[in-house]
């Protein structure tokens, strides 16, 4: 396209037209630079995140050894005898994310199959916006729902459930990521060409057999990518978890107990006034770095699965 403009500009003309052309070129250049600057700014965000996290994390590691941080089983950074083992926080994040997956993976995948294979366009036109609303509800609202609705419900079924517990957090986070899983999976299912389905029907397969043995396997890379992306959202989820799961670092797999996730700790530490430059302040960044690396790895992994195992259909 730049050749086209150059041709348009080289039409021979008088000096007035020439200076007009020059000022026009200067203006074009300037605008191009401004636009480039804006695009480059987006990479500055990433660099900023990495630089900020790295700087404070490194100075945190001058106080606490990385081995103790990664493998220590006690997290009591604000106590007198401070312990900085991140495992209890990771366990919290893991239990919530795993519990959320138990709900979101089957529900998300089955509703994706329903929307793509079973429902007509009219029903789909109603159901999809409803799921989009579910995705758009602020997470603090889910926190309220977990604390005032799900937890009392759990306590009537399992009386030993604590007021703050990982299970209710996991349930609402699961509901929250159903739309992520279902809409991405549905996109993958719908990208499978109709000819494959017709071939299977022609061989006498039922609709379920077509869905489960032809369509789902063909779309598997997209489906798995949607699971991983949903999980990464669950790990990064903050407010619902901070409200419902409580603030007790707890190395357990019992979801009926109170547990603190990495995200909930970051919120708690920044709500309390930890003085700038103290080890307590640096823990925000060390835990943030851990969280950032985990979610980044999951996102990159899901992109890799998508590009590596995508079935190309013409």
């Amino acid at each position: 396209m730049s050749d086209v403009t150059r041709v348009a500009g080289t039409v021979e003309a008088g000096p007035a037209a020439l200076s007009f052309r020059r000022s026009r070129n200067v203006k074009e250049r300037a605008i191009g630079l401004i636009l480039f600057g804006s695009a480059a700014a987006s990479t500055l965000i990433t660099l900023g995140i990495v630089a900020v996290l790295l700087r404070e994390t490194l100075s945190f590691f001058t106080h606490v050894s990385p081995v103790k941080f990664l493998f220590g089983t006690q997290w009591t950074p604000l106590f007198q005898n401070a312990q900085f083992g991140v495992l209890p926080l990771m366990a919290g994040s893991f239990v919530v994310a795993a519990g959320a997956a138990v709900i979101a993976v089957p529900v998300g995948l089955l509703s994706a199959i329903y929307l793509s294979e079973y429902s007509g366009p009219r029903l789909r036109g109603v159901l999809k916006p409803v799921l989009e609303i579910l995705a758009g509800i602020p997470t603090v609202v889910y926190g309220y729902f977990a604390l005032t609705f799900i937890t009392p419900l759990l306590r009537t079924v399992f009386p030993s459930t604590e007021i703050f517990n990982a299970a209710s957090a996991a349930i609402v986070v699961g509901i929250m990521i159903v739309p992520t899983v279902s809409s991405l999976s549905e996109d993958a299912l719908r990208a499978v060409p109709t000819a494959l389905r017709e071939g299977a029907y022609g061989l006498g397969a039922t609709k379920m057999e077509v869905s489960l043995r032809v369509v789902v396997p063909s779309a598997l890379s997209g489906i798995i990518a949607s699971f991983i992306l949903g999980l990464s959202r669950a790990v990064g989820e903050t407010m619902a978890v901070a409200i419902a799961a409580g603030n007790m670092p707890n190395l357990t797999l019992n979801a009926l107990e109170s547990m603190q996730t990495m995200t909930a700790y970051i919120v708690q530490a920044s709500l309390g006034d930890t003085p700038h430059g103290s080890v307590g302040y640096q823990t925000i960044f060390a835990v943030g770095m851990t969280l950032f690396l985990i979610t980044l790895a999951m996102n990159v992994f899901s992109q890799w699965i998508l590009s590596r195992f995508r079935e190309e259909y013409q």
């Binding site: 396209m1 700014a41 603090v140 995200t263």
Partner: protein, 295 residues
């Protein structure tokens, strides 16, 4: 498909019947799974309406936060949310659209462009609280902006930047290239093509994406806690350097208290927030539909 006879003649075999029954069961299961999402939304809204409606009145909207639940309201939080929304839009919109224009209309296909594109996709997946940490270290501390409304707006702007960029790119990509070629043919410069032809055509799509991104920003809590928005404020912000609170934060503050009266206030606050969200989403949908009919 269902009415095929067995090739050996005669009626359906037992195996066939089982396959069909299994199919019906599976269809039922898929339908139920879809209903789980719909039912969750219904229960959630019903629960909120029951808890929140009694407290939702004119006094609630025009009162400041208070230690006494019967006097507390969302005035400061509502004002804070509106301020933050406006500022975030002012910061994020121009930068995002400029970046999208660059990537779609100016950039050559090079490794640098691919890197920028990959980076934007990855940024969209970074948890919002990490943006809060960035805001805390950069805007609050390094730039010395303090725990102010401008720190909050800058942080949220970074958070929604990748979302608006991607939506804008899609809208710009949807403009047919014949339009561009015609304008170039008439001697227009690249910027003239973009500003007089491409942008006006892509604008409804860009605005829809922006509104949806902003409606995500207005529900954000965690990054604002990081940059120091506080839950108890008894005045509306007057300037960029003022401390502030927002609706989700006020709601969080009320949820964290043990008394049931405050939980009812939280539910009422959530209803206000959801109404605000609904209005923004409706605006986005109207824009989208108008765009589709006018094409």
């Amino acid at each position: 498909m269902s009415e095929h006879a067995s090739p050996l003649g005669g009626s359906h075999s037992a195996r066939d019947r089982r396959r069909r029954a299994l199919g019906t069961l599976f269809a039922f299961l898929c339908g139920v799974a879809t209903l789980v999402g719909v039912a969750s939304l219904a229960v959630l809204l019903w629960d909120l309406a029951v808890d929140g409606f009694p407290s939702l009145d004119g006094r609630f909207l025009t009162s400041f936060a208070s230690r006494m639940p019967e006097r507390a309201g969302v005035k400061a939080a509502l004002a804070g949310s509106v301020w933050l929304l406006g500022l975030t839009a002012l910061i994020a919109f121009p930068v995002s659209v400029a970046a999208a224009i660059y990537l779609e209309e100016y950039a050559r296909r090079s490794w640098a462009t691919r890197l920028i594109q990959l980076n934007i996709a990855n940024l969209a997946g970074v948890p919002s609280i990490v943006y809060g940490i960035l805001g805390l270290a950069v805007f609050v501390r390094t730039f010395g902006l303090g725990r102010s409304i401008i720190s909050g707006a800058l942080t949220l702007a970074l958070l929604i930047l990748p979302v608006i960029i991607m939506a804008s790119q899609e809208a710009i990509r949807a403009v047919p290239s014949s339009i561009r070629e015609a304008a170039y043919g008439l001697g227009a410069t690249r910027w003239q093509v973009v500003s007089t032809q491409v942008l006006p055509m892509a604008m409804p799509g860009i605005l829809t994406g922006t509104i949806l991104a902003l409606s995500r920003a207005i529900g954000e809590t965690a990054p604002l806690i990081m940059v120091g928005a506080v839950g108890f404020i008894a005045f509306t912000p007057k300037g960029l350097g003022d401390p502030f609170t927002v609706l989700p934060l006020q709601i969080y503050n009320w949820i964290s208290r043990p008394q049931a009266e405050f939980h009812a206030l939280a539910a009422a606050g959530i209803l206000v927030l959801l109404i605000l969200l609904l209005t923004m989403n409706a605006a986005a949908i109207i824009l989208r539909n108008r765009y589709q009919t006018h094409r």
